[in-house]
Amino acid sequence: MTDMSPASRTSLRELVASKIKKRHAAELRFRGFGVTMVVSAILACSLLLVSILSQSVPALTENRLHLTLDVTAEKADPVGQRDPIDIREQGNFYGLVQDALEARFPAAEADGTLDDLFDVATSLAAVPIGKTIAADPSVIGKKLDVTLPINDDLDLFIKGAFGRTLEIKGEGTLVSALKPDGDFALSGQGPVFAKAVEALRGDLGRAAGSLEQGLILKRQRLATGQAQVTALQAALNAATAKAVGVAGAEASLEQAANNVAGLESEIAADLATIKTYRAAALGQGGPLPLGDNKPSVFVETKTGTYKITTLSPTLATAKLLVRPKAGEIATDWKMVQIKTPQDGRAVNDATIAYGRHLKAQNAIQPAFNTTIFTNSDSNEPELSGLLSAFVGSLLTLAVTFCLAVPIGVATAVYLEEFAPKNWLTDFIEVNINNLAAVPSIVFGLLGFAVFLTFFNMPRSAPIVGGIVLALMSLPIIIIASRAALKAVPPSIREAALGVGASKMQATFHHVLPLAMPGIMTGSILAMAHALGETAPLLMIGMVAFIADVPTGLSDSATVLPVELFMWAGRPERAWEPRTAFAIILLLIFMILMNAVAIYLRRKFERRW
């Protein structure tokens, strides 16, 4: 270094200085990468929680129908003996509900909208009424106040799940005139429908826009489909030449050709719709035609509802949905626009119209959703609950706990304190570590092959589910227990042995109690894991429709995660918020279990 000239020393310093800048920039970039990764992990977690929370919001409340039933003897107890069993089996309780609804809207039968009115509540919803009457037959012949959940789709509509419902207050008095074809002509003083027409035109323009967007994709699919047809045609020609596999090639060619034809007709239909939408949006072609594939527009008076079929600023033709009271002077009326067309939802216009009137009459009221806690699974979303799955989870976990914890702790104690170090214990150890990483579905296969097929145990039973989950959580408990036992210092054992305890006494009287907090923490975490496990239970038939609460270990049952897996797969829209709600309940249970584990760890943790 002493040979270094001052000049080269400064240049070296400059070199280092310039490099340092680069190195610090690299340092910053690296750090930034770390921060980005942490933030993205947190974002992913919060996106998950926020999306599930927001999806569950509609399931927090349910709209209930409050009715006063006239409990007539001929419907409630057709046998007439006032025998509870007869009442429950023979009574027509949905008929009572239907009567009460009809009494509110006497014109429904004449107008042919009776079925739409009855759609407000499903027949299964009336079953609890039967139980009430059977429990107290003295109400027969009297009035009975009941509440029942309403149709899930109407419920979702009232909660606003089908898009915002636009209401425009009408001005002046609405005049309706019956036309010869049975429709009504609605008018007022001047252009009373102008606002609604304007709003609709905007909607139609947007609808045409989104259809055009979709067309791009459909044209692409058409192009690939056509290419496929050409390729398959070539393949067919080759097959015919070789005279092998002709039938198969023909079949796939036909399928592809059908596909292309379907796409072509879809595109043509879309083009036609876009044209009419565009024309209507620009105000061409006279009054706006409104069909079932366009947003529904109602004119609602205090007691009646019309559905508009064509609309211009001054005049509308409309179908009657709910007949207004005779002689009503409609000074207080409004236009109601529902963005989702009737074709796009499972609840039709008439049912919605009745639902809106019932709501206005305070016969439909929202309340906290208790059904989900008190009912078991059902085909009707509004009547479904988690009770049977909850009890199933409890029974299954009880079996798992009773098997996995004693066996797991015994294994851990043996391996850690007693086992001689030889090839057999090494083999057991390797085995346990590998079992901990075996995919859970493999345990399901084991359960299927061994317990269902070989031992002929009942399908879908909590006992089998519990055994499978116990086998799955054993390695976790053993590993956690061994770690807890290892953490107890040898001085404890030596002290116990020194005062004359046997090895067994030293272990069970001194080491095990000190390791117990760690063991319990590990066991609770393993139970929380077992509570959320789904895949192995699918294999042993716990994915079943269970409408009754299981009462024993060999009854058919399902568990919470499997129940929400089934709910997530059902087509009606109302299942989605209910599933999200079920997820939140499941997560609350798991967080509680984890909290207990953390509390135990904090409270009893000892550093030696």
Partner: protein
């Protein structure tokens, strides 16, 4: 005897025996205590051990007998019933005979039989009395054993009797049996998978299974059904599994590793205290919840984005399943790597700092290379977890066995097909069931190899710095 067929006499006997056992425990303890009090000098074993010894003799053999009865009852009832049946019924084909017994059982114990004939009613009556008789006989036997055990234990009770050693031998035996369960489980998994897989391969060539490219497990029930050939070429499933695993790893490795490095090397105590629980929360969420998230949140977002970009995205895409699976695996990689990075000795870092290296240079050139085997091990474990993950792919990846590597397509995986083949109504002994086990066997072998390598690498590495 018929009345004891349904009456839970076995359960009642078990309760009686347990009560008797508790009483014996107290009685023997008291007796041993009184021996000390009577001035016989010191006992070899503490009084409590005499109590346990007596209780074990009372409860152990008796409950074992009841358990044996419970497991063998079906078989022995049938064997006894067969001795009293007329030859023409015994001459029925095995299937019909099974049905006959099932019907007799239904008539006897409530249920809806497929037919009701005088023979069946008679058989049901004798079945009921046989079952009742067996119940009574075994319960009486169990009580007798309990009594014998009681007197045996009492006769041995004495000053020099080594009750502690006997009880400890019992406990030791229980622990050895418990430890053997881990081996039994592995053996059960291997045997059941192997057995059913061999059944599958006796009808279907393993070459076609492992290298065939056409998967369509539906088997024609009627001859006129087209396109239902029952082809079990699993390559599309392997490819789909691999594709989704790859997407998951592309998400999980950078995020998991980056978070682990940041948390262990840069983060302040407060940041750690916030981020670690979040990752633990993520690790505790059941996979079915991730599946729901993938199906109803991520897949629609991807679809909307793809459509806006003019791409054709299927409703259930490999990308959605893979992304969400990646999120699920992040905490797995981050916690394992965090452990490994933390166990790199501080001296290595200090040496690097002393040479003037920056923190990122130290991490990149010293810490990561030192921790590399452990990190590789954790990534391998994560890969094995991704391959075996079931619920996310069942809900979000779809059922169509497309031979495609386009992440926007619908693909299917090994686990999805196992679930599809084994749920729903079918007999136990069909090619579809066996195919599910063959898939499970492949999955088990692949994950086992990955696990063994990973565990070995991690263990070896841990020993290096301990």
């Amino acid at each position: 005897m018929q009345m004891f067929a349904e009456f839970p006499i076995g359960l009642l006997t078990a309760l009686v025996i347990l009560t008797f056992g508790t009483w014996t425990w107290r009685d023997a303890t008291r007796r041993a205590n009184s021996m000390v009090g009577a001035g016989q000098g010191r006992l070899h074993s503490l009084p409590g051990y005499h109590g346990w010894y007596g209780a074990l003799w009372v409860v152990g053999p008796a409950l074992s007998l009841l358990l044996i009865h419970d497991m063998t009852a079906q078989g022995s009832i049938r064997a006894l019933l067969q001795t009293g049946l007329s030859p023409q019924i015994l001459g029925l084909s095995p299937d019909r005979l099974d049905l006959f017994f099932a019907d007799a059982r239904k008539i006897a114990f409530g249920g809806i039989p497929s037919a009701t004939t005088p023979e069946l009613t008679a058989a049901a009556a004798s079945l009921k009395s046989i079952a009742g008789g067996l119940n009574v006989a075994f319960s009486a036997g169990a009580l007798l054993l309990a009594g014998l055990g009681f007197f045996l234990a009492r006769s041995q009770l004495g000053r020099d009797f080594r009750a502690r050693n006997a009880v400890e031998a019992c406990v030791r035996a229980f622990m050895i049996v418990a430890a053997a369960i881990a081996i039994l489980t592995t053996a059960g998994i291997v045997l059941s998978l192997l057995f059913e897989t061999l059944k599958f391969f006796s009808n279907y060539s393993p070459i076609d299974f492992l290298f065939g490219t056409h998967w369509s497990p539906q088997i024609a029930i009627r001859a006129d059904q087209v396109g239902q050939s029952g082809a079990f070429g699993a390559v599309p499933l392997f490819l789909g599994t691999f594709l989704i695993m790859l997407i998951a790893m592309v998400v999980a490795i950078p995020v998991g590793l980056g978070s682990a490095i940041y948390l262990s090397e840069y983060a302040s105590v407060r940041v750690r205290a916030f981020v670690k629980p979040v990752l633990e929360l993520l690790a505790g969420i059941p996979t079915v919840v991730f599946g729901f998230f993938a199906l109803l949140t991520v897949a629609p977002i991807i679809r909307a984005l793809g459509t806006a970009a003019g791409l054709d995205v299927s409703a259930q895409s490999a990308l959605a399943a893979g992304l969400v699976m990646g999120i699920m695996i992040i905490p797995f990689i981050s916690s394992l790597s965090d452990d490994v990075i933390n166990s790199v000795p501080q001296a290595l870092r200090d040496g690097s700092y002393a040479m003037g290296a920056t923190k990122s240079e130290t991490i990149g050139r010293v810490v990561i290379p030192a921790a590399l085997p452990g990190i590789v091990g954790s990534v391998l474990l994560a890969v094995s977890k991704a391959l075996g993950e079931t619920m996310i792919v069942t809900m979000a990846a779809g059922q169509n066995a497309n031979l495609s590597v386009n992440p926007l397509d619908m693909v299917t995986t090994v686990t999805v097909q196992i679930v599809t083949l084994l749920t729903g109504d079918q007999e136990y002994d069909s090619p579809k069931t066996h195919a599910a086990f063959a898939l499970g066997f492949v999955l088990f072998i692949v994950t086992l190899i990955l696990n063994i390598i990973a565990l070995r690498v991690v263990q070896k590495y841990r020993e290096k710095y301990d």
